[in-house]
């Protein structure tokens, strides 16, 4: 905190400009002039004020610990600042430990040159403060700290922060980002999430870049200041949402702006109508005094405003979104306009770029308002705490994306930046002060009117629309001079807008800034039943063009858009540099600026290539030129707008036409940047990608190439052209290596084909080859992939082995997917010729045999399967055999010779070879198989092996497959997979394990007559399962021992051990039986929901036949634990104390009955839905809102909920 105080006072602006800012990280000199802005909350009481400190001149080395200092800084202010300031500062001090000197807004700031210095000084704090604010918030609890840490890292992304950085105040930036984030959380419900993400994002965003920037940004010019200021507004914007509660707050912010712009003027005096004041006052108790500005600051402020404008687009965006919630906006905006415009005029002389600034002004004003409110409301802080944890989670995903996006914006930003630079000159605009109705000037009745209107709104969109209409009305009233005279209380409510379209259209259009248009396009979709404003039609056209750009830049999702705003800022540096280099408009500052910026840019470590840099500069200059003529028009237009809104709209059309040129430029730029970046941005919506542009022609000549998932844009040098791919395919076909190698090769071929968008017979051939190989290796997933691709390719009319594969398809559907509808549709889609094809006929015959259970026919067909049909049938053989055995054991009596079974069930390959040795082999195999499945064999008089059908009927079972894997997906078992692919096909059941089969099934445990049940008392009981390959473990702890017939309450379950163990100190809820099959992938998190699982305690005698009971050692009376003897395939119960062992009479150890299916547990979780890193699907529909997209994630609360799907 003390550090703040240390800052030296810097009176004039000029020095600021020259000052070099250092990175925060350096303890060394900090920017001299740090102005401290604290926004004290309305009432001095507990509210936390925000300190925004901008670090400037290095002379005053303020080492700034954002978190620490807050209170101290306040102290500093008091000292350095003039009386008014002092008062404020004191306020801040008193308020909270983290008090800040109130920024101009609430408390009046008289900015004297001297004070100015203080200001600056204070600024650094302020920036820090942003962090500080958080810190302040944090003070109460540690929870906040994460945020603070973020702050330090500095967010590149944060628009404000970026600009700030340039200025040299790195520290502030992060703080800002975080702070804003923070605020947003507080203020915005629902809609705000997007913002949060973006911001949090920012926080996360690479700290490296920031650091670099800080180091590089040695020469800090006035610009940075301005930017800082800009940041403020941005900040405010974010805070806006809270505004809804306090309409007044918004006004106060505007006031600040106003104050800033008029240099040296004391606001109150200069401005005639202080309508806003009332609101103001209410908010800021302490700041009754009229806001004064320090002359030196004025410039800066102006700059800020401009800078803000530049940044504006992004900000506006956010505002728009937010806007819906906040009511007060319209009024505020109006007031701001006039003021803003004035500064712009001043700037004209200096800047060619002016237009952009003008445009942005409206937006800015809006932004400001919200900010104040945000600061004002204390509530936010507490709320933020809660949300904090969420953001970090989400943020990481975004962080990756952000830096890249920044680049895109650069082109757009360029034009605007120069304006700031020029602005730094001290401008004296009396007009500005006079013209603007500030927030204060808005009468109370008007505010009431606004709230009345807004209260009718049913949703955010409407509110936003309403807001814009209010804006118009106030504007008009102001222009007519009736703002104060009109009786707002009796004014009729305007018709309720139906949707946003109109409003966004009007507000943004009026502004004419390209950016503003950018912000609008998305929301425009909705309908609006309110009267149409004429301008819309033509404007929309323009907006569409802009919308195009915007859509390219900002992905369609809201959160992303918000992120987009931050990117814009990120690009500032570049654009500025470009301008400074190319346009020699401000020679004095240019040099420093240029060097500064270039350094920054270099330091930024972002991947901007030289080329891109050139491009940006080019566009920047182009846009700058294009802007200048427009600028004037717009200004005219603006001035007239207040007289006649309709006229203005007409003019806006004209200007918009001009701006089309701009738009096209930007479009091109956007596309080019898109091309280079789409790949890297995982989150960019697929629809936005221009795939044609991504198609490449490969040049790689290597025939052999392994598969590697693409993580970036494909490089032509690493992609093989078609002729090489053909060779590669031939190589794979003739290769002697195993399937894994071939699969890898084929996948890389497929990748190369896809990347080059080659879809011809070669493609078909590759997929066919791969599908066949996959079939042979039993790699069903891979086969399915190929199959679906082939279906598509065939549908395009590309020739291939269509019949063969339609047969495969049929088999696959009927044997493996078991989806009747699919089967029907694929059967229905067969053509007449297809049905004549041998393979298809065969497949249909197989279908018939499966349907009627005709196993004899099935195995006959199996033997004479054409093509690779047998491979697919292979995968079904086991099941078919088992079914057949079950059927036979039920229907045959008394015995059936093994030989016959072997023949029927296809163990004998008589058809192909027919020699005796083979037959013996087959017999032996059959015998093994039968034994493995629990059939009871016996020899009859003649020595022929017979199956005792009656005995077998009760003992038959499906052994747990050898290759069972945790996920129920055999292809995940690496060992076995390798073995299979090398040709050693292990038949499941070759080696049978003596264990219970495990499955998602039922838990039902018998409660045996325990000898020591009585003693159990409060002993904890734990039930476990044993299973050789059990994918999961479940163990329970019972709060107390259950009584017979009672359902125990289960307390805990553990998941995920592949081997189930019994715990020593738990009473085992034996006998545990696990039956049924591992079904879905969900089984890997085979979770027992304690709430939903019914645990049945069965009487011992009812289940004694099928379940073993808990056993106790006959010698030492300890519990016996299951123990398996793998070689003999028997299950024992062994004592762990002594040597005692006994053979179990039943293999069933555990049964788990899950009575719900995971698919039905549907929840709607807002925040998860916006996480871009989660896999998404469009195959389900939300039952609540009908939204068509959902994300997958595993829901972990209590650890026990199964994976669930959340719908967005």
């Amino acid at each position: 905190m003390a550090s703040h105080g240390a800052g030296a006072a810097d009176g004039s602006d000029a020095p600021h400009a020259e000052v070099v800012s250092m990175g925060q990280t350096n303890p060394s000199p900090y920017p001299l002039s740090s102005s401290h802005h604290s926004w004290s909350s309305a009432t001095g009481s507990a509210t936390v004020s925000w300190n925004n400190t901008v670090d400037k001149l290095s002379q005053d080395t303020v080492y700034y610990d954002p978190q620490r200092d807050v209170s101290v800084s306040g102290g500093n202010h008091n000292v350095g600042s003039s009386a008014p300031l002092v008062a404020q500062s004191s306020m801040g001090m008193t308020d909270a430990a983290h008090s800040h000197v109130p920024y101009s807004s609430s408390a009046q700031h008289v900015y004297n040159p001297v004070e100015y210095a203080n200001y600056y000084y204070s600024y650094p704090q302020a920036t820090n403060d942003s962090s500080v604010q958080q810190g302040a918030n944090q003070h109460p609890g540690a929870a906040y700290q994460p945020l603070t840490s973020f702050q330090n890292s500095g967010s590149y992304i944060d628009p404000t922060s970026n600009t700030y950085y340039n200025a040299g105040g790195h520290q502030t930036v992060p703080g800002y980002g975080s702070s804003s984030y923070y605020y947003q959380n507080n203020t915005w419900n629902g809609g705000s999430t997007g913002n949060n993400f973006a911001q949090s994002y920012q926080n996360y965003s690479s700290s490296d870049t920031n650091a670099q920037q800080s180091s590089t940004s040695v020469p800090a010019n006035s610009l940075p200041y301005q930017q800082q200021y800009n940041q403020w507004p941005y900040y405010y914007n974010q805070s806006v949402p809270s505004a809804s509660s306090n309409p007044v707050a918004g006004n106060s912010t505007t006031d600040n702006l106003a104050v800033n712009t008029p240099s040296g003027y004391s606001y109150p005096s200069s401005q005639p109508p202080p309508p806003g004041t009332t609101s103001w006052k209410s908010n800021s108790v302490a700041s009754a005094a009229p806001p004064m500005q320090v002359p030196g600051h004025q410039n800066q402020y102006a700059n800020q405003a401009e800078g803000h404008y530049n940044q504006g687009p992004s900000v506006q965006w956010s505002q728009n979104h937010y806007a819906y919630q906040t009511q007060p906006y319209p009024q505020k905006t109006n007031s701001n306009h006039p003021q803003l415009s004035n500064p712009e005029d001043q700037q004209k002389t200096v800047d060619s770029n002016g237009p952009s600034t003008n445009l942005s002004s409206n937006h800015v004003s809006e932004n400001f308002k919200p900010n104040l409110q945000g600061s004002v409301t204390m509530d936010n802080s507490s709320e933020s705490k809660i949300q904090v944890p969420i953001n970090p989670r989400i943020a990481p995903g975004f962080s990756m994306v952000m830096p890249k996006n920044e680049k895109k914006n650069s082109g757009l930003d360029l034009s605007k930046k120069p304006a700031y630079v020029s602005v730094s000159m001290p401008t004296n605009d009396a007009k500005a002060t006079q013209v603007g109705p500030d927030a204060r000037s808005i009468p109370f009745s008007l505010r009431n009117y606004a709230t009345r209107n807004l209260n009718r709104c049913k949703n955010d969109a409407q509110r936003a629309a309403c807001r814009s209409i209010m804006e118009e009305i106030t504007k008009k009233a102001f222009a007519e001079g009736t703002l104060l005279t009109k009786n707002w209380d009796t004014e009729p409510l305007f018709p309720l807008p139906e949707s946003v379209v109109g409003m966004t259209g009007t507000s943004s259009v009026n502004n004419l800034s390209p950016f503003s248009s950018v912000s609008t396009p998305r929301k425009r979709v909705k309908s609006r039943w309110e009267p149409v404003v004429d301008e819309n039609v033509t404007n929309k056209v323009e907006q569409i063009a802009k919308g195009l750009i915007s859509s390219n830049i900002h992905s369609t999702l809201d959160p992303k858009n918000r992120m987009g705003s931050s990117w814009d800022h990120g690009k500032f540096l570049q654009s500025r540099e470009a301008l400074s280099n190319k346009v020699n408009q401000r020679p004095a500052k240019k040099q420093k600026m240029g060097s500064n910026l270039s350094q920054i840019q270099n330091g930024s470590a972002s991947s901007d290539s030289e080329k891109e840099h050139d491009l940006t500069t080019y566009y920047a200059s182009a846009t700058a030129l294009a802007n200048s003529p427009e600028e004037k028009k717009r200004r005219e237009h603006r001035s007239k707008r207040f007289e006649k809104s309709k006229d203005s709209s007409l003019k806006s059309k004209n200007t918009s036409a001009n701006s089309d040129a701009l738009a096209s430029l930007r479009l091109r730029r956007a596309i080019s940047s898109l091309r280079t970046r789409t790949y890297e941005e995982g989150t960019l919506a697929v629809e936005d990608m221009n795939w044609d542009a991504l198609t490449i022609k490969g040049t790689c000549q290597e025939i052999e190439k392994g598969y590697l998932r693409l993580t970036g844009a494909p490089e032509p040098a690493k992609v093989r052209p078609e002729d090489v791919l053909e060779k590669a395919l031939a190589m794979v076909e003739t290769s002697q290596k195993n399937y894994l190698y071939k699969c890898d090769q084929l996948k890389s071929i497929r990748q190369d084909l896809t990347v080059q968008r080659i879809q011809n017979e070669l493609t078909v051939k590759v997929y066919e080859t791969h599908a066949r190989l996959a079939m042979q290796a039993g790699d069903l997933p891979e086969f399915n992939q190929c199959q679906s691709q082939l279906k598509r390719l065939y549908a395009q009319g590309i020739k291939g082995c269509y019949f063969e594969f339609s047969a495969y398809n049929l088999l696959c559907v009927m044997l493996h997917s078991n989806n009747k509808r699919d089967l029907l549709s694929s059967m229905a889609s067969l053509s007449k010729e297809a049905k004549q094809d041998a393979a298809v006929k065969h497949a249909l015959a197989v279908h018939a045999s499966v349907l009627s259970g005709n196993y004899v026919l099935f195995f006959k067909l199996y033997k004479k399967a054409p093509n690779l049909n047998s491979c697919l049938m292979d995968l079904y053989v086991e099941r078919m055999r088992f079914e057949a055995m079950k059927c036979m054991s039920r229907s045959y009596r008394p015995t059936v010779p093994v030989g016959y079974v072997a023949q029927i069930l296809g163990f004998l390959r008589t058809d192909t070879e027919g020699c005796a040795t083979n037959e013996d082999d087959g017999l032996e195999e059959c015998e093994k198989w039968l034994k493995a499945h629990g059939a009871v064999l016996s020899e009859d008089n003649s020595g022929e092996l017979q199956i005792d059908m009656k005995a077998s009927s009760s003992t038959l079972y499906m052994p747990e497959p050898e290759d069972a894997v945790a996920h129920g997906d055999a292809s995940l078992a690496v060992d076995d997979f390798l073995a299979r692919t090398d040709g050693h096909v292990k038949r499941p059941g070759e080696q049978r394990k003596q264990t219970s089969t495990l499955a998602v099934g039922t838990v039902s445990c018998t409660l045996p007559a325990w000898p020591n049940v009585a003693a159990a008392g409060t002993r904890a009981g734990g039930g476990t399962t044993t299973s050789a390959n059990a994918p999961t473990q479940t163990s329970y702890c019972l709060s107390r021992h259950p009584r017979p017939g009672e359902t125990p309450r289960l307390h805990a379950a553990a998941v995920g051990d592949s081997r189930l163990r019994l715990r020593r100190h738990c009473l085992v809820l034996a006998p545990i039986q696990v039956t049924s099959n591992l079904k879905s992938a969900i089984s890997c998190c085979w979770v027992i929901d304690t709430l939903n699982v019914e645990h049945k305690w069965l009487e011992e005698d009812t289940t004694a036949a099928t379940m073993s009971t808990m056993k106790f050692c006959c010698e030492c009376n300890n519990i016996l634990y299951p123990k398996e003897d793998r070689d003999r395939r028997t299950l024992f119960f062994a004592c762990r104390n002594c040597e005692h062992q006994e053979v179990s009479d039943n293999n069933c150890v555990y049964r788990n009955e899950v009575h719900h299916t995971a698919g039905e547990r549907t929840r709607v979780l807002q925040d998860v839905a916006s996480d871009p890193t989660l896999p998404r699907t469009k195959t389900v529909r939300c039952t609540v809102c009908g939204h068509g997209e959902a994300v997958f994630f595993q829901y972990l609360s209590y650890m026990l909920r199964p994976a669930s799907i959340s719908l967005t």
């Binding site: 049913k458 018709p495 139906e498 949707s499 379209v501 909705k526 309908s527 609006r528 039943w529 309110e530 009267p531 149409v532 009747k820 509808r821 089967l823 029907l824 549709s825 059967m827 229905a828 018939a848 349907l851 009627s852 259970g853 005709n854 196993y855 004899v856 026919l857 006959k860 057949a884 079950k886 059927c887 036979m888 039920r890 229907s891 045959y892 009596r893 008394p894 015995t895 059936v896 010779p897 016959y900 029927i904 195959t1179 389900v1180 529909r1181 939300c1182 039952t1183 609540v1184 809102c1185 009908g1186 068509g1188």
Partner: protein, 409 residues
């Protein structure tokens, strides 16, 4: 009728239409609004469509006259116009826009006065989407309009399927959704709709309008046929049949088309007169085959109407009847044998069955027939056992051919 229309007349007609729409809205006249919104059911040439053709500047007219309704009226007029000049894809996109605007507004109306209009919109959007898809398909474009209509209707459904008076209209929309999903073959999407209809505790299913209930039951019954839940399917389809308006023959026929196979598979055979009355003679042979145990006839019938059965989705159900035909055959043999030599009535030689099948020109070897017998026993169609050594099927003395009694095979 391309009669010449003066500008003024066209202007008047359009204005008239617009004012009728706006009046309907302002007077909350749902029926009137509904009739005004039926775009696709209007004849190709109406006074309005002619007027629209003659007065191409109609969007501006609508926008100027009723600016607050412009979002709804302008695309609506466009849709009517495009539809009348047979440009269905355009008509669809315009109509969807109008529908969205309408839905938006509909949400804000607290009473369900516009339910009829909403239903008209739901129906129209489906019909236009179907036409649009046909048009797109013939132009070689991707026909995705019906899908879009589906997602729009889902939105509508979401709006209606809430507590409150609007819920009563939800079933109609869900039926439209079913129609779309069945047409698109994405029946799995029906599930969410069904769930929200059937799990609702605050609204009794019986409170929905009868016509919607019948339609709903028909579609859900069909779904159960796909899932081979014959008992539930029987229940639902029977409900639909009982409540269906007896005058609407085609609807009855549709229901029977699925109900008959379901009934067949649970062992209930229809009378021939029924089949004749509803022109469902494709099932006649199947029924005869079941009665006679004539496997050949069954296969022929399936073969003959394969396309039809596949299309309607009952093919697999009918195919499964094969086992029952076998059972019938064995039963007949059993009856004959009992008359011939009552002592051995319960022992049927496999040989006999094989010969019978031969006579039916079914080419099966002994093993296969034996397998079929085993299956019959296994599936409880025959009580008894098979002696492999002597190749004899031994029937149980009592009730060797148990009746299904509603149990599916």
């Amino acid at each position: 009728m391309a009669a010449y229309l003066s500008m003024g007349e066209a202007h008047r007609r359009i204005g008239d239409y617009l004012s009728r729409v706006t009046n309907a809205i302002s007077y909350s006249d749902g029926a009137a609004l509904a009739s005004l919104l039926s775009v696709s059911s209007a004849p190709a040439s109406t006074p309005l469509s002619d007027a629209l053709a003659a007065f191409p500047d109609f969007p501006r007219l609508a926008g100027d006259r009723f600016p607050h309704l412009a979002d709804f009226l302008v695309p609506l007029l466009r849709a009517i116009h495009s539809h009348s000049i047979q440009r269905f894809a355009d008509a669809y996109s315009s109509f969807e826009k109008a529908s969205n605007a309408f839905l938006q507004e509909f949400r804000n109306w607290e009473t369900p006065w516009a339910m009829e209009a909403m239903h008209t919109v739901a129906l129209e959007i489906r019909l236009i989407a179907e036409k649009a898809d046909r048009e797109l398909a013939t132009n070689g474009k991707n026909p995705d309009k019906l899908q879009a209509a589906g997602s729009f209707l889902m939105k509508v459904f979401g709006t209606l399927a809430v507590k409150g008076p609007k819920r009563i209209g939800a079933l109609y929309v869900s039926c439209q959704l079913f129609k779309i999903y069945f047409r698109l073959g994405t029946v799995n999407l029906c599930r969410s709709v069904i769930r929200s209809i059937e799990t609702a505790r605050n609204f009794d299913f019986e409170d929905f309008p009868v016509k919607d209930k019948v339609t709903y039951m028909y579609y859900t019954g069909r779904l159960e046929v796909f899932n081979e839940n014959f008992l539930v399917a029987d229940q639902k389809l029977t409900y639909a049949l009982m409540h269906c308006n007896p005058q609407s023959q085609s609807n009855l026929r549709r229901i029977l088309k699925f109900l008959i196979p379901v009934k067949l598979s649970i062992g209930v055979l229809p009378k021939r007169t029924l089949l004749e009355r509803y022109n469902l003679l494709e099932y006649a042979d199947v029924v005869t085959a079941l009665k006679r145990g004539d496997l050949r006839l069954l296969r022929q019938a399936l073969d003959k109407h394969e396309d039809q059965f596949l299309k309607s989705g009952v093919y697999l159900v009918l195919e499964k009847l094969e086992l029952k035909v076998y059972q019938r055959l064995v039963k007949k043999i059993h009856i004959i044998q009992r008359q011939k030599e009552p002592a051995k009535a319960h022992q049927i030689k496999l040989d006999v069955v094989v010969r019978a099948l031969k006579w039916l020109e079914i080419d099966m070897d002994v093993d296969e027939v034996e397998c079929i017998m085993a299956c019959l026993i296994y599936k409880n169609l025959i009580k008894g056992y098979f002696a492999h050594k002597s190749k004899v099927l031994v029937l149980s003395k009592q009730d060797p051919f148990p009746k299904l009694n509603g149990k599916p095979v």
